[in-house]
């Protein structure tokens, strides 16, 4: 176990290094002089020279990288050009909003995807199976921004049941918070539910054909016990770790969902930054997302080993 951890951590270091190089390089994709882009409307040569010195743009690129990564490692992601706030502070403000949304989306995805996958596998070839498969196809093919718009039209404009936009913190008023978040969380969770359904179905089908399930049936156990106690427990282990890995999909989805529902989260932060040409924020958001993803990947791997005794060595 310790050996595995050491190996896994050793793999993360170069990956994080390349992530940082990739994100740093983004800045150099900008057409023309980055100092001019950062200066925006300002054309005063003194101001441009000051920006160039401040961001070490007058230094060779590898030196610029060293300055940048030193800052990042000490928690300095730069300053937002628009808000004049440290990028890390902005991220810390917005991330909890998206995490609440992502948490609700994952719960919705599990509540829909796993039962649908189990029913689909247990009732293979029946109308239930076809229905669940159709749901999965619908889930992975529906653009979440369109689904969001259609839900707003139905539940906010036509029926008037839910607010069309906005965000209320859970700590402030939990009812209003859930009412405001339920539609965006469903939009986000829908595609993941479809993916989970497909994985659960194939894992369950594999397990249902295994010898120990056949033995459990031969012992005369009820079908319910066989499925719930024997098959499901083994089939769901990899699925739960897969759920953690879907965070990338959630964060990508959050960009558009937060835009549609005007939620002041992490996704909206990157979109606003893109339009304000606030490049330090764009870099900070991508770096944070990648770091969260890599960390979750590691946790999922460890969790998988912990719950699967055969992998412990």
């Amino acid at each position: 176990m310790l050996n595995f951890l050491a190996k896994r951590l050793a793999q993360i270091v170069p990956t994080l290094f390349f992530v940082s190089v990739l994100i740093f390089s983004l800045q150099h994709l900008l057409p023309g002089d980055p100092a001019l882009v950062m200066a925006g409307e300002e054309r005063d040569p003194a101001v441009i020279a000051q920006i160039r010195a401040q961001y070490h743009l007058d230094q060779p690129i590898p030196v610029q990288y060293v300055y940048w990564i030193k800052g990042v490692l000490s928690g300095d992601f730069g300053e937002s050009l628009r808000n004049k706030m440290p990028v890390l502070e902005l991220i810390a403000q917005k991330l909890p909003v998206t995490l609440q949304l992502a948490g609700m989306a994952i719960v919705i995805a599990f509540l829909i995807g796993i039962p649908a996958g189990i029913v689909s596998a247990v009732k293979k070839g029946t109308a239930w199976d076809y229905g669940a498969n159709l749901f999965a196809l619908w889930g992975i093919s529906t653009p979440n921004f369109w689904l969001g718009i259609m839900l707003i039209f139905l539940f906010s404009i036509e029926l008037g049941w839910l607010p069309a936009s906005g965000y209320v913190p859970l700590t402030e008023n939990w009812r209003a918070s859930i009412a405001a978040s339920i539609m965006p969380a469903f939009v986000l969770g829908n595609a993941i539910a479809a993916i989970l359904m497909r994985h659960t179905r194939s894992a369950m089908l594999q397990v249902l054909e295994s010898d120990y399930v056949r033995t459990a049936r031969a012992k005369g156990l009820s079908e319910r016990t066989v499925i719930l106690k024997h098959a499901m427990r083994n089939a769901l282990t990899p699925i739960i770790t897969l759920g953690a890995l879907e965070l990338g999909t959630l964060l990508s989805g959050a960009v558009l969902t937060e835009q549609i529902f005007s939620i002041p989260g992490f996704g909206k932060l990157i979109v606003d930054a893109v339009f304000n040409r606030d490049y330090a924020v764009v870099q900070g958001v991508v770096l944070t997302t990648a770091t969260i993803y890599i960390t979750l990947n590691l946790i999922a791997d460890i969790a998988y080993i912990l719950v699967n005794p055969r992998l412990r060595g």
Partner: protein, 296 residues
Amino acid sequence: MTDATLTTAASLAVAETLESPARRAWRRLIRRKGAVIGLAVIAIFILLAVFAPLIVPYDPIATSWSLVRKAPSAQHWFGTDELGRDVLARVVFGARASLLAGVISVGIALAIGVPLGLVAGYRGGFIDALISRITDAMLACPFLILAIALAAFLGPSLGNAMIAIGVSATPIFIRLTRGQVMSVKVEDYVEAARAMGNPRWRIALVHILPNILPALLVQATLSIAAAIIAEAALSFLGLGQQPPAPSWGSMLNAAQRFLTSAPWMAVWPGLAIFLVVLSFNLVGDGLRDALDPKAR
């Protein structure tokens, strides 16, 4: 079982063995209802995109102040938008941007990803470790966030959106190609080609690449679906096709502002994205089953 039945079964088996792999895959593909429906819908959208000017009587960018936000009617089947433009014309012409973006982005991802995956899988060692770590780094950045960041830095346009989506989709193809090459390169026929003194590039291109094509084809089809959604997403955010040129994503963005007074503006472009993406997913799933060696 009679002798005649046995003979027919045997001759069918022989015919199947003699059939070329591509023909066999095609025959299996068209046996799947979902894949056939998907292929038909894709064909219809391709025809619509190619012959758009002959199909719709309206100019997709011609505005008319007297026709602003008119509900669907006999003249304008899908209604008109906030500038009085025909929504049907814009949906039909919008198919061009979406399909082009899907195919070109995946083409870019294949053009970069497959050679890198081949080199990493075949050479191994330091080059493999380097390419794999860069791939891991790219995969750590969620697809759409990376595409948005790239599109933002490259500047908003359909061309740049295609590059951004293509580059963001590349690591999937590197990883897939590398994995496939590693399992194929230990096969006897590759060993034989090596023993005959074939140069590395020839073994990679002539003996390995054709054998990993089925897996790449399945992934490419599914990636086109993802790329079409990504292009629509970037256009929705204003980072893809620029107005007044029609694109399904930017149409949805405009529609969002007029949801109360003109909901039809949101229905049709969204439905078009859904149908095309669903069709590519159906074909991708069908191809996966048709090309699965275990199904033979």
